[in-house]
């Protein structure tokens, strides 16, 4: 790679140990993927292991072995950096039926680590959907992890970010640059596989779960090709786009999609494919969507303990819709319904009265918390959780996978989830 004098200085260790280690990692990734140079990043989105997936015991220590090396001697991040969701909203732990011991176990590292990153200038939104909190311009180069951040920013905002990792997201925030390969280059952003909707599907009537089911199937079929969806309504809002995008990094490693007539780099089918022909064309019908539903519903009874909404974190529009669905209703006392959003949107929702509406109905709104995969996937067995309902394919998939299949999942639309919360069963 051809580096600037400043980048060479960082690599030589003239700007401290953490910056050197960060640059080494970015250069190593750049070399593998054939980057010719680094590009300045306008922001990065951090995934910090010890506050999200691994907040306890040895694993928290091990995670910090990696992260502390990258920030060693770094007083402030070079660019704005948002920060991903954490494992638990400590203030709501009791109403979520999370034992005090669990809270005590995670609190020391959890709180001290947040302070460390905030002192370096991280924006404390604590959310997997920073694109509902922060501005991204079309063409911006970003660093960052969290697969929905990558998918949404590339596809919907037209910003440029590779599907990288927690450690590289930190390295980009530390150095302010990112290796120039992959989706940073226009030539790599064209669609490769076309998904057309079958005649037996009415996309205009799709629920959030249907968008999930479509994306979940498309990921399995596309594997590593950039999907282009044709036939989806041009009225798709950020909730629909979020749920279409999110499963593509669950069943595959996909970092970008195009939706013809909806996303900015796909005004037409031709533009979506960069003037080339699709490598493959697939028709998705009712049967394919049904296969997603079957894989995501692993529970064999209608029993459940939790209903988790807001994976990925809700936008204000989605919080408003959930509040509307709960108006005048009461969540069954045998189950816990909770809804997750960022710390920033939580404050907004509180001021708008949405938090009160949801909580008056017996639901819980949590801020900054990853609503399922982090806590039930990783610690479900320890917390004696057996079944969780969700409207998110990502949540359902990872709760099952991370718990080794011990925690069963029920997957359906937010309307179905809320009905289950009222009835106390699926």
């Amino acid at each position: 790679m051809k580096l600037t004098a400043r980048e060479e200085d960082i690599l030589a260790g003239k700007c401290g140990k953490g910056r050197k280690k960060s640059m080494e990692l970015l250069v190593a990734v750049g070399e593998v993927f054939g980057a010719e140079n680094m590009v300045p990043a306008s922001s990065s989105h951090l995934v910090i292991p010890e506050i999200q997936l691994f907040p306890k015991g040895k694993e928290a220590e091990w995670g910090m072995e990696i992260t502390r090396k990258l920030i060693d001697g770094v007083e402030k991040f070079a660019i704005p950096a948002t920060i991903n969701a954490f494992v638990l909203d400590l203030e709501k732990a009791e109403v979520l039926n999370i034992p005090a011991k669990f809270v005590d176990d995670i609190r020391p590292i959890f709180e001290s680590s947040q302070k460390i990153y905030e002192a370096k200038g991280a924006i404390p939104n604590y959310s997997c959907t920073p694109f509902f909190d922060f501005f991204y311009r079309q063409g911006d180069h970003l660093g960052g992890a969290e697969s929905i951040q990558v998918l949404f920013n590339n596809s919907v905002n037209g910003a440029r970010v590779n599907r990288e990792t927690g450690p590289t997201s930190l390295a980009v925030a530390v150095t302010g640059v990112t290796p120039n390969y992959g989706l940073h280059l226009t030539r790599n952003r064209a669609g490769q596989i076309l998904f057309e909707l079958g005649d037996d599907l009415d996309a205009g009537a799709f629920t959030d779960a249907d968008y999930n089911a479509l994306g979940y199937f498309a990921g399995r079929a596309a594997v590593e090709k950039i999907p282009v969806f044709k036939g989806l309504p041009d009225t798709m809002n950020e909730i629909d786009l979020k749920y279409l995008c999110v499963p593509l990094a669950v069943t595959a490693g996909i970092a970008m999609i195009h939706v013809v007539g909806v996303t900015p780099e796909a005004p037409t089918l031709e533009a979506a494919f960069g003037g080339k022909r699709p490598e493959e064309v697939m028709v998705v019908g009712r049967k394919e969507l049904q296969s997603s539903y079957e894989r995501l519903n692993t529970a064999r009874t209608n029993y459940l303990e939790y209903i988790a909404l807001g994976c990925p974190h809700c936008s204000i529009r989605e919080l408003r819709e959930i509040a509307q669905l709960l108006r005048g209703r009461k969540v069954n006392h045998n189950v816990v319904l909770f809804v997750a959003t960022s710390t920033i949107k939580y404050e907004l929702a509180k001021r708008m009265g949405l938090v009160k509406e949801i909580e008056d109905a017996g639901g819980v709104v949590v801020k900054g918390m990853c609503p399922g995969a982090s806590i039930f996937g990783r610690y479900g067995q320890e917390l004696e959780v057996t079944a969780v309902a969700t409207n998110s394919s990502k949540n359902a998939h990872y709760i099952g996978a991370h718990s080794g299949g011990h925690v069963k999942t029920l997957f359906g639309s937010k309307e179905q989830c809320i009905e289950a919360a009222i009835a106390g069963k699926w």
Binding site: L25, V47, I66, S147, E224, T251, A401
Partner: protein, 144 residues
């Protein structure tokens, strides 16, 4: 070994993503793998519903699969697998995914990708495999 002179050896050449040399037994997956999600970290046993390797242990194996998938927190999961003693000895992929490359570099697991022949077709589970990632060479000794 005397009497097994017919044991076939195959040499594959690819690119190095993470340096290192090792020898071990092949475990081949036709499905993609996420370190956080496919195996259970504390056991190394694949628990992902519907996965081609469901119930198999990846610990200490030369792991061959199409490419990485899953969460961008994957390098951490891989590092923990290693700390628990359940990481694969080496990774051989058709295509490199940044999550897997960073995982391999930080966990010091040799990784080779883009080989001159499809490793998933050439290598079978149980084959004896020698990996020299620095040189980008994979030596396969067929067991059948």
């Amino acid at each position: 070994m005397v009497g097994t002179a017919k044991m076939k050896k195959i040499i594959l050449r690819g690119k190095c993503a993470a340096k290192g040399k090792c020898k071990g037994e092949a475990l081949v997956s036709t499905d993609m793998i996420a370190f956080g999600g496919t195996p259970v970290l504390k056991t190394g046993i694949v628990g992902e519903p519907g996965h081609a390797l469901l119930g198999k242990n990846i610990a200490g194996k030369i792991l061959i699969y199409p490419t990485g998938k899953g969460s961008t927190g994957d390098p951490y999961s891989c590092y923990f697998l290693k700390k628990y003693g359940n990481a694969p000895k080496a990774i051989i992929n058709r295509a490199a995914n940044p999550t897997t490359v960073v995982a391999a570099i930080l966990s010091e697991i040799p990784m080779i990708y883009e080989l001159d022949r499809d490793p998933i077709e050439v290598i079978e589970t149980g084959d004896s495999v020698e990996v020299d990632a620095d040189a980008g060479i994979v030596k396969v000794t067929k067991q059948k």
